[in-house]
């Protein structure tokens, strides 16, 4: 019997647990040329700001062993442009749309959320409090449990949509942030965003990114993402979207075992948009082989070593 991949993430009804990670699949236009967006459990758009933003200077991307550094910054056409130009296309597909929002100041977040709340065809709002690239030092709102909670609280008060807090791994204690956003009303958490990183070309002596510092993604960050998902799973009650270095179905299963209800795929989609089919298929086969009907059956179910 084929396992049942349907997943309910804080009320979002998804056909499977695999979602796009914000910023790695645009607003759906390009991927919709490749295949039906309905393949995804949910489609998360690139973070949107209240006004149009240019993003960072180029080069904005650099490769490092097993990973990717990016400093795109939030290049956004602004929330109104998104509603007019991008949302209509997304509405055509039978896929829950998660709209990621970003802000330069605490109060920009609820302003964007208020505008989005009016619109049809949005399943949830993901609040990108991590955004490590906006400030040069790589720190962010998301580094402070209180400010994180404040932002989530403010967004919650503007919308009846489920609110997902996207957490940055660049913190001393991820559970403190997760607990704070849970207390302030977050319906789910998504983690991890990119890790602050930097690379220098030793021949030119220039930083490889014009922004000097960027965010690290890809296979290299998986052990860090797995650890944080496991910690957060044990610290809060709300569901988790596990993100960070998922390139294969094996990685997705690892995140589910660590406690994720859904999994977000980022860098892997830049490498190959069609990888989503393999990941979904692989999850299904793994469950089937192990005689399981739903991924819920293994969520967080790692076998802990007996203590001597």
């Amino acid at each position: 019997m084929k396992p049942d991949l349907t997943t309910n993430l804080c009320g979002i009804k998804m056909s499977n647990p695999v979602v796009t990670a914000s910023g790695t699949s645009g607003y759906g236009q390009e991927f919709s040329q490749f295949y039906d967006l309905g393949v995804f459990g949910a489609f998360t758009v690139k973070s949107i700001t209240i006004e149009k933003r240019e993003g960072n200077p180029t080069p904005r991307i650099a490769e490092c062993t097993g990973g990717l550094l990016n400093s795109i910054g939030i290049q956004s056409q602004g929330v109104r442009h998104f509603i007019q130009k991008d949302l209509p296309l997304l509405r055509q597909y039978n896929v829950p749309v998660i709209v990621s929002i970003a802000g330069l100041s605490v109060d920009e977040y609820p302003r964007v959320a208020t505008i989005l709340d009016q619109e049809e065809g949005i399943s949830a709002i993901e609040v990108n409090i991590s955004c490590p690239n906006l400030e040069a030092d790589g720190c962010s709102f998301g580094g402070d449990p209180e400010i994180s909670g404040q932002i989530i609280g403010a967004v919650k008060s503007t919308t009846s949509l489920p609110v997902i807090a996207k957490l940055t791994p660049n913190v001393t204690d991820i559970t403190a942030i997760a607990k704070s956003v849970e207390t302030c009303g977050a319906d789910a958490v998504a983690l991890i965003n990119t890790l602050g990183g930097m690379a220098i070309d030793i021949q030119t002596r220039k930083p490889k990114l014009a922004n000097i510092i960027g965010g690290l993604s890809g296979p290299v960050i998986k052990p860090i993402g797995i650890k944080m998902v496991w910690q957060v799973y044990n610290a809060v009650q709300i569901p988790i979207i596990g993100i960070g270095g998922i390139m294969t179905w094996e990685d997705a299963i690892e995140y589910i075992l660590a406690g994720a209800t859904a999994v977000g795929v980022g860098t892997a989609l830049l490498q190959d948009p069609w990888v989503v089919f393999d990941i979904i298929e692989g999850i299904s086969e793994y469950l089937e082989k192990n005689g399981l009907n739903r991924s819920d059956d293994i969520r967080g179910k790692i076998k802990l070593p007996e203590t001597p």
Binding site: G26, S32, T58, G66, G67, L270
Partner: protein, 267 residues
């Protein structure tokens, strides 16, 4: 809606060194050989290696649709291109393509200038191939670092093009940069120009071409995260009417009109 499948597994037909640091890679793939326009590119996943996260973009140099063949010329500069030199006949290359917008080739005969530098010479083969079929007149000016890096001259000559080679050190053809020897070519009647080469060359020839007021298209390079428009890593500043906006080299380019390009500190 018809969906596009950009994925291809293309067997290697040959992979041969054509001059210092440059290789010509001939691949077999029917759809790509038929559908790719000069100036478009493919994005190669090198050996499916786990440590090479990004694909590597290469302009298609020439297509031979009848034989289902297409080729690229690559210069060995780093990890990915070094690994590509290992490719053997029958190895299969994982690639996405065709990507981006190519050069516009008029249907009727025109007088054309083709300006190429380094590995940027190769994509002009495809341009010459198309122009040849329209009976256009071609003047080709190619710049290389030195005689050991020169390649492709014969290809253009085979298309009946007037071909001029420059080398930085004068070890072959005229000594100096392409821009220094452009004058001669510009004396002739030229309606359209096609440019592909390194950024310094582009910067140097731009003022001359602007002056001459010919319809000119330029292929730009940029660091690419995806090659199909979603990551926004490849943006350049481009004029759109009065406004200057960020456009993606991988989707709106890599070929841009000369008058639209803003060559600021970033490019």
């Amino acid at each position: 809606m018809n969906k596009v499948d950009l994925r291809h597994s293309a067997p290697v037909v040959s992979n041969t060194r054509i001059c210092t640091d440059h290789y010509r890679l001939v691949l077999q793939e029917d759809r790509l050989a038929s559908a790719t326009l000069p100036g478009q590119f493919v994005n190669i996943r090198v050996h499916n290696r786990e440590d090479l996260i990004l694909r590597r973009p290469f302009s298609v140099a020439l297509v031979k649709p009848e034989q289902s063949l297409f080729e690229i010329v690559y210069r060995v500069v780093g990890k990915g291109t070094s690994a590509m030199t290992d490719l053997q006949p029958d190895d299969v290359v994982n690639l996405l393509g065709p990507l981006g917008k190519g050069f516009r080739i008029p249907k009727k005969a025109t007088n054309c200038l083709l300006l190429g530098g380094g590995c940027g010479v190769a994509p002009l083969w495809g341009v010459a191939d198309k122009l040849y079929r329209t009976n256009s007149k071609m003047i080709v000016v190619l710049g290389f670092q030195s005689s050991a890096m020169v390649f492709g001259e014969d290809k253009f000559q085979a298309y009946g093009a007037d071909t001029l080679i420059t080398t930085d050190d004068g070890s072959y053809g005229l000594k100096g940069f392409v821009s220094e020897h452009l004058g001669k070519a510009m004396d002739r009647q030229i309606d359209r120009a096609y440019v592909c080469g390194p950024t310094p060359m582009i910067k140097a020839v731009t003022p001359i071409l602007k002056q001459a007021n010919v319809a000119c298209e330029i292929s730009l390079e940029a660091y690419m995260g995806c090659g199909f428009g979603v990551c926004l890593s490849c943006v350049v500043s481009v004029r759109n009417g009065e406004a200057i906006e960020k456009q993606r080299v991988c989707v709106e380019g890599p070929v841009f009109r000369l008058e639209d390009i803003v060559l600021d500190h970033e490019t």
